[in-house]
């Protein structure tokens, strides 16, 4: 059987650290890179008798995530204890949510530009939405560092609010898994609920994957993959694991339900434990925490415009292409920059080009984030207006842009252009050049008169040359058309 004779089924469990100021159940600050065990109290250390108190903001952020992803919310949501023994959770249970989570259902839309770049031309299911099972809120555990003979535990991270977002097994390829994670991250960033950086551990992902022959209805036995620390690791691990499982099936072997670990250095998955060893968590309601009535909080939420909504609006209001709208809306800061630049002009399409092509590459070359762009949105708008008004040519604008990028103090762009020698030839002067060229080229002029519109281009070039490159091509063309009509 060939690779295409198998179906792949993937489900993702994503843990997202919320961007609250304090922990889920205590007032200790949430911060990264602090000295070990300096952000701890009896609650997050799990000392006997310490009582947890809910962080209201964390619940609001989770409900907002649910709204952005189209989830429903039970009227009452409650807190449960998930019992297990591990040194990163010394009270021997994690406070989580079992049967009444904050969000149910909903889905993650897979944005075209969220797929790997090399795959955007071959998307199997455009506009796919991956259904979610649920989103619940729980507490993060402490951080373990494994030394050769001991394990060290730092509780600074313990108790950080953690959202668990569980998808239905509806993802059909490693590339869709990548698109899912990137799209989800975009939406979380839009809602400002998390920075969701996988490489910083703010977003963590467990993957369930199974394969089955195409003619088989029943899902194959699933393997859980752990230790996936970047989006690209998820893609590579899935490719490896899918090939491995297909290989096993082709050799007539049975897949045993188990957890495997991705070894990024070796580029392979490695067996960790079988499902038989898995735990019975004995969930039960946490008597220390009172349930939440969700209606009031839901009503007070401000839901932001989402990437796909912004894309549609940019196309409608600013005349950008759908592709450019997708690029601009993929990042909220970029979308805001573009909108600030394009508002109040009719040159949205041209501004989109300048933002995507010129600004982003200049920033990349200078290794600057958008937030530190030397060129402000209003300046970029002024520059594009100079071009569109025929004051400078596109090539001259590129030089003005480069100068402005290096010397952002220039306020008056028109004056800057003039100081760089980019003074537009005036209409009277241009008309003289046009007359000169028309008189000197009777042949091409006759061709134009006979209906060969293309012949105008060579004349345009000559007039441009006479003007020293300062002429506005649109104006020259207009004049030439008049004189050869």
């Amino acid at each position: 059987m060939a690779r295409k004779d198998f179906l792949v089924t993937i489900g993702l469990e994503v843990h997202v650290q919320l961007k609250t100021r304090t922990k889920m159940f205590c007032a200790c600050a949430v911060a990264f890179g602090e000295e070990p065990n300096t952000l701890c109290c009896p609650v997050c250390l799990g000392l006997p008798g310490a009582l947890p108190v809910l962080n209201k903001r964390a619940i609001e952020m989770t409900l907002l995530t649910g709204r952005m992803l189209g989830c429903s919310t039970p009227e009452i949501s409650k807190w449960d204890r998930k019992n297990y023994f591990y040194p990163d959770m010394p009270k021997n249970y994690q406070i989580s949510q079992f049967d009444l989570p904050l969000c149910l259902g909903g889905g993650v839309p897979l944005y075209e530009l969220a797929y790997p770049k090399d795959h955007q031309k071959s998307i199997a299911h455009p506009d796919k939405v991956v259904a979610l099972t649920r989103i619940h809120l729980e507490e993060d555990v402490a951080k373990s560092t494994h030394l050769p003979k001991a394990t060290l535990i730092d509780f600074n991270r313990a108790g950080t609010p953690l959202m668990e977002i569980v998808s239905e097994p509806e993802i059909e390829s490693p590339e869709e898994a990548v698109a899912y994670l990137n799209s989800l991250r975009q939406i979380l960033l839009y809602g400002e609920v998390s920075d969701a950086d996988m490489e910083k551990g703010q977003m963590r992902c467990d993957v369930n994957v199974s394969v089955r022959p195409k003619d088989q209805k029943k899902l194959g036995t699933k393997i859980e993959l752990k230790n996936l620390n970047s989006v690209s690791a998820v893609r590579r691990a899935l490719h490896y694991e899918i090939e491995r499982q297909i290989g096993e099936l082709e050799e007539g072997n049975r897949i045993v339900q188990a957890t495997w670990r991705w070894n990024d250095d070796a580029g392979q998955t490695e067996w960790m434990r079988n499902k038989e060893d898995s735990q019975d968590y004995r969930y039960f309601p946490d008597p220390d925490l009172l349930p939440v009535r969700t209606a009031g909080m839901l009503a007070a939420l401000g839901v932001p415009e989402l990437p796909h909504q912004k894309q549609v609006r940019f196309v409608r209001d600013f005349g950008v292409t759908s592709y450019d709208g997708g690029v601009l809306s993929a990042d909220r800061a970029l979308a805001d920059y573009f909108e600030a630049a394009a508002t109040g002009t009719t040159h949205g399409k041209k501004l989109a080009n300048w933002v995507i092509n010129n600004l982003l590459s200049a920033l990349k070359e200078a290794d600057l984030p958008l937030g530190q762009s030397p060129v402000r949105p209003t300046q970029l708008r002024a520059l594009v207006e100079l071009i569109e008004d025929g004051k400078i040519t596109n090539n001259q604008a590129k030089e003005v842009f480069a100068r402005l990028f290096a010397e952002p103090s220039h306020e008056d762009l028109a004056a800057l252009a003039v100081s760089m020698g980019f003074e537009p030839a005036n209409a009277g002067e241009l008309e003289g050049f046009v007359d000169q060229v028309v008189a000197a080229n009777p042949g091409p002029v006759a061709e134009i008169k006979a209906g060969n519109a293309k012949a105008i281009n060579s004349l345009l070039g000559q007039v441009m040359k006479l003007s020293g490159g300062k002429g506005d091509p649109k104006l020259i063309r207009q004049l030439l058309e008049q004189k050869t009509a």
Binding site: T20, R21, T22, C26, A27, C28, A29, E35, P36, N37, T38, L39, C40, C41, P42, L45, V53, L54, N55, K56, R57, A58, I59, I76, K78, N83, F85, Y86, P87, L100, S144, T145, H146, L147, P148, K149, A150, T151, L152, I153, D154, F155, K226, M272, D280, R282, P285, P287, L289, L290, P291, V292, R293, G296
Partner: protein, 97 residues
């Protein structure tokens, strides 16, 4: 995973709790805890139709804290009860995931 409706097995629960019971204790606690569960099962004999399910034993809701940071303990206080420590962290027997 055992069937929750199956007969109560104190040995299994003790194992989940990492408790080591002697043979005598097993017999004693099996009987005592089975009695507690039988008592709880009396609820099954009541007519509960029309009674709304509750999410908590106390009829109270929505007790929150604003997201305002407060003081944490010093690292010395945090580690005061640690049987073993190293590099300002709790040191435990090496665990393998």
């Amino acid at each position: 995973m055992p069937d929750p409706d199956a007969d109560f097995d104190v040995g299994y629960v003790a194992q989940l709790c990492r408790l080591e019971l002697t043979a005598d204790e097993t017999v004693q606690f099996q009987a005592q805890l089975s009695g507690v569960i039988e008592y709880m099962k009396k609820i099954d004999q009541l007519d509960l139709s029309g009674i709304e399910a509750t999410a908590h034993a106390v009829p109270a809701f929505d007790v929150y804290r604003e997201d305002e940071p407060g003081p944490s303990l010093t690292v010395e206080e945090v580690l005061r009860n640690a049987p073993q420590k190293s590099q300002n962290q709790f040191a435990v027997t090496k665990v393998v995931e």
